[in-house]
Symmetry: C2
């Protein structure tokens, strides 16, 4: 594993913004309900016991702010992550902030942990069946483990269900989660179920690894590659949520990645010995490439934007930019990796032997910009995900 | 560790009923809102993709039922757990259903996982401050690890926050979770935050252990013991939620266990080499003893009901039964363990050296009943938690 992060404490804290949750429009419709219902508000600070944190240095940064507004912008998101990291304080060094999984030294064993929560109002389109909800909740966690080259050893499931959720649907949801786990070679071994105002599925995965593939190991000259073509899920979402037409023969190709996404675990494990940096593309290709650039201190020149043909047709039919679909879409669980040139052949072969493909899309550069070559001309790739595409 | 469960796959699936969530009355007030708001309902089954589970043998058990009704009764709870276990199907043998944590073999390493979700409407009394919410979410998970004799190595946090939750409160919540983790010798190393209709905090803990102390190892003649006195939290809840008066000098003793509970981790680790069976008392002393009885195939004779003096005073002032407070209360995070008689001295000494105390309360019996000696007379202890006490 080239340039792998050392096993110690590697903190991982992610925020799903309204945008990266990809159903911002849905959520916006529901907001008045939340805002108008006093009884749904979280309890406010009580003076019964002194708030210990209020007396620490951290309190100087405390300010009144609506989390909703913060979740809606990338700057706000980053601020929230910083707030979380600040609240937690210093973790046993060496420490690296902001990777996709956390690694801790448990008596000489590298324990890798990952948690990601699926919330109905932001992550579940109306067309998604309960089995698919469980499936997706697990897949989005597996995808991050895949990007880090770690095989999940087991998973647990904490579920909040609305009172009128049906037993049949509950069983299908758990079966979906369990089927997804088995698909990736592990099992759901425990869980907790609670009554909740909306459907929430929090999955936590654990694995054992000596090192993980970081976001930060890319060097100028490394080859930028992906494990698949882009634009399918963002086209599928536009079809499902906004009713934009899809060609009958393409419909399943567009919709299936939204409702039954796949994680590239076999590919990620095959790439682990070769990749210098890696991330999944759940926040969009452009966003992922920018994250690799930022963490590694490099830039990227995307010479070939990997657009799926069905996404290109969908864009053409609906007068959309195919590049926008591929670059600024999201909820696609491909891996975006960098490979040192001397390892390219071996890496590509390893991925093929694992049943996948490695698509060369560009190169890491010394100049810290992310550009794409479009019609022979270099254009700037913006550091944004799907959210701004929607507005 | 006497009678420890072997490391392989040990499934853990818990359900927090409205009752064991302990704020049933609060939730009941909120129900009309949930029931009347169509937009809050979970999406129904779609026929876009075939539901794979529907074609399995499991489907013969599928029936229409409201989860809310099921969560409200113990029989329903058990049915839900069975539904979850059935949906998951056979896990790599040997397998034990229904213990408090899950253990899996990860390449020869015993990986212990635990997840428990805190939901505002059922787990957070109005007086609970954000720091305390984070604290409690971690403590309730640590308590189960403590009962199994496992030291948590790390934790992750998946948080759903309402849109109007304040940044200040968010930071305090995370700080509370982080402070609780540090109190028990580990760290919160990662997390995920999402917009959600109500405040939800799902904590997952991981540890490494060769064996755990099961619920099922008690033998007739083993000594039944607890790590503390009971009734404080149930009195505290009645004070906080129903406004029953508490003596000024006792108030903190009653309220603190509700708002800032402690887990008995040091005691649990000290007991691990000696205990034949163990469980925490978060669902109430009577419930916990019955669970040990059921899992071990024994009965118990409780010779001394360990009532906290402040709880006894509260009961006297409010014309309540002190025994009911101690037996059928809950949200108390003491450990309830069985110790073979020959290990008693060593176990008691180990707990004292860990800064705690081991209180002898009874004995395991061959007769499969749970009885308590009250005023020299044996009375049946019912297998119920706080929920029925409330109604």
């Amino acid at each position: 594993m080239a340039e792998g992060a050392q096993v110690h404490s590697l903190i991982s804290f992610s925020m799903s913004s309204l945008g990266t949750g990809f159903f911002r429009n849905l959520l916006m419709l529901l907001l008045p309900l939340t805002a108008s219902s006093k009884s749904m508000r979280a309890p406010k600070t009580s003076s019964l016991f002194p708030l210990r944190a209020a007396s620490t240095a951290a309190s100087q940064y405390i300010q009144e702010a609506s989390l909703l507004a913060m979740l809606a912008s990338e700057a706000g998101e980053r601020k929230l992550i910083e707030a979380a990291v600040e609240a937690i304080g210093r973790i046993s060094a060496p420490l690296q902030i902001g990777d996709d999984v956390a690694v801790v030294d448990a008596g000489g064993i590298g324990l890798v942990l990952k948690t990601d929560m699926l919330v109905a109002s932001t992550d579940v389109p109306p067309q998604m069946a309960p089995w698919q909800v469980g499936w997706k909740a697990v897949v989005m966690n597996v995808s991050d483990m895949a990007a880090k080259g770690v095989k999940p050893a087991a998973g647990v499931l904490a579920i909040g269900v609305p009172g009128d959720y049906r037993l049949e649907d509950f069983k299908l949801l758990i079966k979906g989660a369990s089927d997804a786990a088995r698909e990736y070679g592990f099992e759901i071994v425990g869980g907790d179920t609670n009554a909740c105002r909306e459907l929430v599925v929090a999955v936590a995965l654990a694995g054992v690894a000596k090192r993980i593939v970081p976001r930060s190991g890319a060097k100028p000259g490394d080859i930028l590659a992906t494990t698949g073509y882009f634009g399918l899920a963002s086209a599928g979402l536009k079809h499902l949520l906004e009713g934009l037409p899809a060609r009958p023969g393409d419909r399943e190709a567009l919709v299936k990645p939204v409702l039954e996404p796949k994680a590239r675990l076999r590919e990620g494990l095959a790439l682990a010995p070769y990749a210098s940096a890696s991330i999944d593309s759940s926040d969009g290709l452009a966003w992922s490439v920018h994250e690799l650039a930022k963490a590694s201190g490099v830039g990227f020149r995307i010479e070939h934007i990997p657009i799926a043909p069905e996404a290109a047709s969908f864009a053409e039919d609906n007068s959309l930019s195919p590049l926008d679909l591929a670059l600024y879409g999201g909820e696609e669980y491909e891996l975006v990796v960098t490979i040192p040139p001397e390892s390219w052949s071996a890496a590509a072969k390893a991925v093929e032997e694992a049943g996948g493909r490695l698509i060369r899309v560009g190169v890491a550069t010394r100049e810290k910009h992310v550009v794409a070559v479009v019609d022979g001309r270099e254009v700037e790739v913006e550091p944004r995900g799907y959210e701004h595409f929607l507005t």
